[in-house]
């Protein structure tokens, strides 16, 4: 298993009256190459789940094994390496750095991996080309539309060719047409071998995934696999 959660809790304000269990005993496993939608209403704990899966946050209790290694045992340095080499994030709010242009934003994870200047330029340009934004390499985020910014964010996520892609409401801020383009792109990456985790509150989008994990109040209430027609 690529990803395995065993009885994971994430509890805020534990022991207090206003204690919130964002994850309330979640166990799941995801194999390499899957396309998984994590669905649920707002507040169901799906973003917390992605943060834990993406090593952006640590669970309060429970074990998280990523490619067989217990994440809880890893040092900050090792976690940083996992984030830069194994996982590509696509955030709902794009999370581009405003002072840097598209190319520089895409290069950033490569810089932190220690990729040399010319090679990382090539890789970043190739990633921008894949999302169809090679012509916008020198534009700042503020000079681009929401769809273009999201594509830059995708280019940044795929530039280092990580095996896992995690997308948190990637279509949330986009119109339906651009949203569909983004989804098509994620599917294409999945066909090429990436494991894709798609977090969404939109059932219609979740329905396009081969596997749907539905959360409610921090618990998995449904985990179903389906055949979908990807064309």
């Amino acid at each position: 298993m690529l990803i395995e959660l065993r009885d994971v809790f994430k509890i805020y304000g534990e022991g207090l009256e206003r204690e919130v269990r964002a994850l309330d005993g979640v166990s799941l496993s995801i194999a390499a190459g899957e396309f998984v939608a994590i669905a649920g209403a707002s507040g169901s704990g799906k973003s917390t789940l992605m943060n834990v899966l993406g090593c952006l946050d640590v669970p309060s209790y429970g074990d998280y094994l990523l490619a067989g290694r217990d994440v809880g045992e890893l040092s900050d340095r090792q976690l940083s390496r996992i984030r830069s080499r194994k996982i590509g994030f696509i955030f709902q709010g794009y999370n581009l750095i405003p002072g840097l242009n598209a190319l520089e934003n895409v290069e950033l994870p490569l810089i932190y991996q220690g990729v040399g200047v010319s090679r990382r330029r090539d890789m970043a340009l190739a990633a921008l080309e894949r999302v169809g934004l090679a012509g916008r390499a020198k534009h700042r985020p503020a000079e681009m539309s929401g769809g273009q910014q999201q594509r830059v964010a995708i280019a940044r996520a795929i530039a280092a060719r990580p095996p896992i892609l995690m997308a948190d409401e990637p279509t949330g801020a986009l119109d339906s047409k651009t949203g569909l383009e983004v989804l098509d792109f994620l599917r294409q990456l999945n066909r090429e071998g990436s494991t894709v985790l798609l977090i969404t509150h939109d059932n219609a989008i979740a329905a396009t995934a081969r596997r749907i994990i539905r959360l409610r109040d921090g618990r998995i209430v449904e985990d179903k696999r389906q055949e979908v027609d990807w064309l």
């Binding site: 952006l56 640590v58 390496r81 830069s84 840097l100 950033l108 994870p109 810089i111 220690g114």
Partner: protein, 400 residues
């Protein structure tokens, strides 16, 4: 992450937000420049006073006295002092007289007050008592004094005022209509003052009789060999004058030393330095708080950026290194600009406030102000970066 990479990243970040970077620098620039300027002006003022005293002549004892029987107290003291030549280097009256000097079409009556040369009656030891050195021609001699020669020696500025740049030696000017031949010119010793000690015409004191100045010199100057000799010479002079006046029955006489004034003046400038140094210290502190504040705010508001960088794989050390380099660059560039501005402001203050004195900022103050600002900038640029990079990335990402 390599240092070169961190430098590149910091540069991109600084250039990416030019306005913010400049405002951050501004606190440092103004802090350093103002401290440099204030301290320089005070120490320049102090130096100017000391220079003025040095130009006027140090180790001077001013005597006054007279004898009721009409004999000249000055001439007796003069003669007495010549016998003290291991303690005294010179004796001279310093009496200003005459009010109109002419040479050719030059006439002091039509000059600004500042430009008018002062006519002074002195002895052949006037130059040594007043730290004048001859530039050309010859000085007054004892013979000029004894023989009532109608001659004079000019200070450098008086020579310039009356003769422009032609050679005055051998020329004849008139004081209140009486002709005097110029023997020589002294070297300039006080170029920074508008009321210059060099703007003088020295006549032999015996020439006073041509100018209705009388022949009795109630006040005169004795110059001691060095500072240590001053109290001893004063004691000797007081004894001598008391002997002449039979303890005040047949005349009067006493002496005082400018050394006391100088000590007072030094004390005063020391006080002023302390007060203004305190002001400079406070302005540095206020500037420092400004630097702290702006670094703290600008880096804290980038917590989200730190979160993004962490989320895409930056190690904590990479973040801290980037912000360290960034703060160092902003503070360094700001500090250098501040030093440049402080240097210019110091020069300008020298020109405008201190009569064109060429002022140089104090090296220790400059480095101190620079170091203080840079260290504060680094500390308060790093602190929020260290804090934010220690959060779980998701917490930093949530920051707005």
């Amino acid at each position: 992450m390599k240092l070169t990479q961190a430098v590149k990243m910091a540069l991109k970040s600084i250039l990416g937000k030019k306005g913010r970077s400049f405002l951050t620098m501004l606190g440092i620039i103004i802090g350093i420049a103002s401290v440099m300027t204030i301290v320089s002006v005070v120490s320049g003022q102090n130096q100017k006073m000391l220079d003025y005293y040095a130009a006027m002549g140090t180790n001077r004892i001013t005597c006054y006295g007279g004898l009721y029987n009409g004999e000249s107290m000055f001439e007796k003291v003069y003669a007495y002092c010549q016998s003290l030549d291991e303690l005294v280097v010179g004796v001279t009256p310093e009496v200003q007289c005459g009010n109109n000097v002419r040479y050719g079409v030059k006439n002091t009556a039509s000059m600004d007050w500042e430009d008018q040369p002062r006519v002074i009656l002195g002895s052949s030891q006037y130059a040594v008592c007043n730290n004048f050195a001859l530039a050309k021609g010859r000085d007054l001699t004892e013979l000029d004094v004894e023989e009532y020669h109608r001659v004079c020696v000019l200070g450098a500025r008086a020579a310039r005022v009356l003769f422009d740049y032609t050679d005055p030696v051998g020329e004849t000017l008139t004081v209140d209509g009486v002709p005097f031949t110029v023997l020589g010119v002294y070297r300039e010793k006080d170029p920074d003052n508008s009321y210059s000690l060099d703007n003088v015409i020295i006549l032999p004191y015996t020439a006073g009789r041509f100018l209705n100045a009388g022949m009795e010199w109630a006040e005169f100057t004795v110059k001691a060999k060095d500072a240590a000799a001053v109290p001893r010479v004063m004691a000797l002079l007081r004894d001598y004058m008391n002997g002449l006046t039979q303890d005040g029955q047949t005349g009067y006489g006493d002496c005082y030393s400018t050394q006391q004034w100088q000590e007072q003046e030094n004390e005063q400038t020391r006080m002023m330095s302390l007060v203004l140094g305190g002001i400079a210290g406070i302005s540095l502190l206020v500037g420092g708080i400004g630097i702290m504040n702006i670094m703290l705010v600008t880096v804290t508001e980038r917590t989200r950026e730190i979160g993004i960088r962490r989320a895409i794989g930056a190690e904590r050390s990479s973040i801290v290194l980037q912000f360290l380099v960034e703060a160092a660059m902003i503070c360094g560039i700001g500090g250098i600009l501040g030093i440049a501005l402080g240097f210019l402001a110091t020069q300008l203050a020298g020109k405008l406030i201190l009569d064109g004195l060429s002022l140089l900022p104090d090296l220790r103050i400059t480095l101190g102000a620079f170091g203080f600002s840079v260290v504060l900038g680094l500390l308060f640029g790093m602190y929020p970066a260290i804090k934010a990079s220690g959060l779980p990335p998701v917490a930093a990402l949530r920051a707005e």
